[in-house]
């Protein structure tokens, strides 16, 4: 799947930074290098360059989506993005007892303070969050409003930063999988799977066919359940309570079937490096199949009339995605291979990249193992792109649309907060 990581000289990196192609998927660092994951002809390309004099040439002047990654790299490792378009802090709100926690020598604590939002003078700023009411992830949304229109929305994240990367460092892949599974709850299977694949890629470990099939079943069951949760939230925000009830009912049925099969409603910790934690309970596959059949039968009738704009477009993508998940999972369940469900992981060194398709978009994990211990790791969640998409969608939109548009993106900040 992956081409070997390329280490670029300063000149090569600068040349790459000056071209908009290939587009950026993720940017992160370790104590010595910065790493950029690029999407080159649908194949991921991982390139690195050494950090010199505490910095590296920024990607954000040409690829604006790199700006928040650069701010994160600065806050966690202390590396400066030279020439970057935004040098404000991102994860570090000045509340930690130290700065650059992942650097070889962390620094003194940063000064606490509210980040500066840059809006034109004639725009009214409306602050929302981090406590948003209802049942919402912690995030701060700053609306720049003129009359009843949103001129610009800027998201400020980092409130749920738990230090996941630091907690993973130094652990074995099996021990660290618990943290990957808790990066973002609505995509716990996808993150555990991408993490396991990265570890298996690093160690050239083959996973038994039955485990591969069960993993894909779990991934599709998670997709169906999570997208049903998002669809229910959209229907609630649009005032379509009857449809919301049906989405919620099916979501609950799918979660219960997952519980019957794997012993956990969210299937947390069920995917582990080398395979899956345990084979499904007897009758578990049948329980999942029943829930999916009932869902597929009613789904075509669950239209959401009256949605417009981004909410409508999101719903139009989401319902076919639920149908696709049902179809894939049922196909896998019908042809499950027999055999063991996990393989032992060798204790060795190496680097690996893992991918999984989460309900909200692609998930990428990268890690480097040093004699069986994780020396360096990064986990990229679709929330990085999702909040930027929300900002684009809300520019020029009526302020009253925010709740509905926000619901239609199904955003959770935890995945990007690390």
């Amino acid at each position: 799947m992956m081409r070997p990581r390329q280490v670029l000289s300063r000149e090569e990196w600068t040349a790459m930074a000056g071209r908009p192609e290939p587009p950026l998927l993720a940017l992160w660092a370790d104590t010595r290098e910065v790493h950029a994951l690029l999407r080159d002809e649908e194949v991921p390309l991982l390139v690195s360059t050494a950090v010199e004099a505490g910095g590296y040439p920024a990607l954000s002047p040409v690829r604006p989506s790199a700006a928040r990654f650069e701010r994160m790299v600065h806050d966690l490792w202390g590396h400066q993005a030279a020439g970057g378009i935004d040098a404000r802090p991102w994860l570090d709100h000045g509340r930690w007892a130290l700065s650059a926690p992942m650097a070889q020598r962390p620094g003194a604590a940063a000064k606490a303070g509210t980040p500066e939002f840059q809006f034109d003078d004639d725009v009214d700023q409306v602050p929302l969050g981090p406590v948003l009411g209802g049942i919402q992830p912690a995030s701060h949304l700053r609306l720049g409003v003129r009359g009843d229109r949103v001129v610009r929305l800027e998201a400020r994240l980092g409130y749920t930063h738990r230090g996941c990367l630091t907690l993973i460092r130094g652990k074995s892949p099996r021990a660290a999988a618990r943290f990957a599974a808790r990066l973002a709850g609505e995509a716990t299977v996808a993150h555990a799977l991408a993490f396991a694949r990265a570890a298996e890629d690093a160690l050239n470990c083959d996973v038994p066919p039955r485990a591969l099939a069960w993993r894909d079943v779990m991934l599709e069951v998670e997709r169906a359940a999570t997208l049903l949760d998002v669809a229910a939230s959209v229907a609630e925000a649009a005032g379509l309570d009857g449809v919301a009830t049906r989405f919620a009912w099916h979501g609950e049925a799918v979660r219960r079937a997952a519980d019957a099969a794997f012993g956990h409603r969210l299937m947390m910790d069920c995917v582990v490096p080398g395979g899956i934690a345990a084979d499904a309970a007897s009758g578990g596959g049948a329980a999942i199949d029943r829930a999916l059949v009932a869902l597929a039968a009613e789904l075509p009738a669950l239209a959401m009339p009256g949605l417009a704009g981004h909410a409508q477009a999101a719903a139009a993508r989401r319902l076919p995605a639920i149908e696709g998940a049902v179809h894939l999972a049922r196909g896998l369940l019908a042809t499950l291979p027999e055999g063991p469900v996990s393989a032992a992981l060798p204790v060795a060194s190496g680097e690996g990249l893992g991918f999984a398709s989460a309900p909200g978009g692609p998930v990428w994990h990268w890690l480097r193992l040093d004699h069986g211990q994780i020396a360096s790791v990064f986990m990229c969640d679709p929330a990085w792109a999702g909040f930027q998409a929300l900002e684009v969608a809300m520019a020029g939109a009526p302020a009253e649309d925010l709740a509905l548009v926000r619901a239609s993106f199904g955003l959770s900040s935890a995945g990007a907060d690390l």
């Binding site: 509340r95 209802g134 409130y159 990066l183």
Partner: protein
Amino acid sequence: MTAWRRLARTLVAGPVTEPATAKADAATVASLAGRLDAAGQGGLGRSLAILHIDAGSCGGCELELRAVVRAVYDLERYGIRFVATPLHADVLLVTGAVTRNMVEALELAHAAMPEPKLVVAVGDCAVDGGVFKGSYAVTGGAGTTVPVDLLISGCPPAPERILAGLRALLEASARRAEAVSSR
């Protein structure tokens, strides 16, 4: 599908809300009522308004909280609802290990609530920091920042468990209100 057919199907299919099986645990109710009594606090009767704060959650507890609110468990039929501001919240419901970046928001919300300021920690992270204990970025469970009245453990706790905990809180509050009014 025509509106008539949809209506007919709804009538035939019946309600999706399940009978209330998650009973409030008697010992938990007694202990909570004792806490309210010791604090000299009046109860609130048969209704609770909850403000949810994500203090550093992965989002798993939120999935289950939304399930508790929605049709199958239907939290509102017990008189428990989620609100948008601490100014009229009876209960602060905390999820997640408390991140240092959320400490101030949590303290401000707690300070803005009217008495008796009940606090519930939902999920292993909010109970004691869970797997994130010891990180530079978290202080630990909700109790490191605000006084906690009820712990609901689980990663995440299943909807029945959350429902049983919240009903125990409602029961204790109602019992206390009756005791105060009969004096």
